[in-house]
Symmetry: C2
Subunit: 369 residues, 2 copies
């Protein structure tokens, strides 16, 4: 071992996550660890549940963080709701839609995908046609496709899915806390997120919420959930104040961090936070335009918190990223899959979404391009 | 939300985990978050892998922390190594052995259990008989049974399992970092632990190591691992310095904490750490004896870091625990399953295992009994 941790210094995190962490959250993270069955910790858990319900705009009692990163939220969503042989429709227009299909396939669901060009949104009418053809147990989509910067029309898709009786699963890893997420109004049955995007915590938790319909499907399963660690019935027995049955040891200090991050968000006010994301996003697009840089996604489908920027012809995209990090202590992200080498991904998530950060990045890009 | 985090103050954690966290680890936890693909973070990951290999006494390159608590380590072990229909033998003498059987059953393995009285160790000769009767794909046992305080004879069991060709899976959640764990010498193919016991980190990571034989079984699977999040092949592509393929976003700050905890352990020296656990354990047993308190487990099978103490007749065991916490800021654990109400579980794990903590507990018990 070495004293390598001493070399860890602040980086301006403007990639696809993790984002900059609130100073209050670092302090929360380092509060003394207490027991996972300590009455005080149980009060903290209850407040985290309540804060998440406000953020997700849901009345679901089954709202709690999974003890893993955002991908554990995806795993939990599919593992709890699917049984072998269930018909699933996954809407795919980026890496995370593809990952959903992979996760569902491993659980032996019969997976259909409906694919759309990367950088364009899911087309609601195409979904409606597909749903007219075949009955599905579950339909899944990513709200904010982190690999492309596209916002998918979650409400419109929900309006098509709900009447068919299929469960509706939405990945809100990148959207939650940076733009409105209205789980109940949009007819979403299972929604999950991650702590390290617009919540501005370190990575390590996956807030998740399940509707009564989702819980009914869970209860009606013919087979046990093939994942003890993420079995929602067991987790709910621990997170339910009246029962509080020991399941696994909760990641205490990460829960402190999430509690504090929720407090920061709710203190600022959700509308104010969302407006800040939109405002800083508009500033970024305008400033990048002055440098001659173009966005991948058409204006009406752009996410505020994840900006896919075309790499100009002849520019060494990896070299620019490396120099931004080494010389300017700014991290931005690379493209993935078919967009590798073609785009940069600039995050404006949570505490990162500040005007001064945009100016700092634009100056650095100006110097390095 | 409330300012409830302000009410979180130091508790002397003498239960079954989490244990007291090193002050250096709290500081590491609050270091600035950097990106999961940042070259500096990649160096930190490499050092964590190397520190874990030293601690587990293994040469396995596939040694890394799972992004979840100790239970995620258990899930990962079984999910990667088992396929539906595989014959598994689980040795059960407490809660965590029972949990293993549950986890394996959900993965549709054909699970046999061999059960032993809680508070007594697994009998090697009984295992040998069972193995003579039937071929198994995998045999699983808990090294330090946290629910009873019993140390199972992992080396002796391994000597029976290895010649049969079965894979050997060992839960070292409570033992790792507090007593010798010699993965390679004991013929263990898959071993996992948790960060919140003798490593004295907060809960949230599950160090895991897999032998070449385990990886060969993984490679030879007929079906995909039914758990994308914990798929070891994908995780190894991220944790392998040469490939570093993005899988999920690692829990950066928890990895800092683990790095620091490993440094604390290795700086003190493994032999010194183990001797400290034994010495403080002997002191606890002697001091409890003066109070007239008896141990559940026979002396030769006792764990140093988890002490099961019989509750004297007529004593309100939950009341004593509640008063220890409320009046003395000391947490001890309750019994589980058939031992509920009958024992207290007193942890001496990692940074908790100090003479002054024993004296503080004994004084408090003296006042409350």
């Amino acid at each position: 071992m070495s004293n390598r941790l001493d070399k860890v210094h602040e980086v301006l995190l403007m990639g696809p996550g993790p984002s900059c962490v609130y100073p209050e959250v670092y302090r929360a993270l380092a509060r003394p660890t207490i027991g996972h069955l300590d009455p005080l910790f149980i009060d903290i858990m209850d407040e985290v549940k309540s804060g998440l319900r406000t953020l997700m705009q849901t009345a679901n009692t089954a709202t709690l963080p999974m003890s893993g990163t955002g991908s554990a939220g995806m795993e939990a969503g599919f593992a709890n709701l699917l049984e072998a042989g269930d018909a699933v429709l996954v809407l795919v227009n980026g890496v995370f839609g593809k990952r959903m299909a992979d996760v569902a396939g491993r659980l032996q669901a019969r997976v259909d995908t409906l694919e759309f060009d990367w950088g364009t949104p899911v087309a609601v009418e195409a979904v409606a046609e597909k749903l007219a053809d075949k009955r599905y147990t579950l339909v899944a989509v990513v709200h904010a496709e982190t690999s492309t910067g596209v916002c998918n029309p979650v409400a419109g898709i929900g309006a098509q899915v709900n009447p068919t009786g299929a469960l509706y699963l939405v990945d809100a890893v990148t959207s939650l806390g940076g733009m409105p997420v209205c789980m109940d109004d949009w007819g979403v049955d299972l929604l999950y997120s991650g702590s390290q995007k617009c919540l501005s915590c370190p990575p390590g938790l996956a807030p998740l919420s399940a509707s009564e319909r989702a819980l009914a499907k869970l209860k009606a399963r013919q087979t046990r959930v093939p994942n003890w660690y993420l079995d929602l019935s067991l987790l709910l027995s621990y997170w339910d104040g009246a029962r509080r049955a020991y399941h696994h040891t909760a990641p205490i200090n990460m829960i402190y961090a999430l509690h504090q991050a929720l407090q920061c968000l709710l203190d600022e006010g959700l509308e104010q936070v969302f407006e800040r994301h939109r405002r800083v996003h508009r500033l970024l697009v305008a400033e990048l335009g002055k440098l001659g840089l173009e966005m991948l996604v058409a204006a009406e489908y752009r996410l505020p918190m994840l900006n896919a920027v075309k790499v100009p012809l002849g520019v060494d995209e990896a070299g620019v990223r490396a120099r931004l990090l080494a010389r300017h202590r700014i991290e931005i992200g690379a493209g993935l899959g078919p967009l590798a080498g073609k785009i940069w991904r600039i995050g404006l998530m949570g505490h990162t979404a500040r005007e001064h950060n945009v100016h700092r990045l634009v100056e650095a890009l100006h110097a390095e391009l």
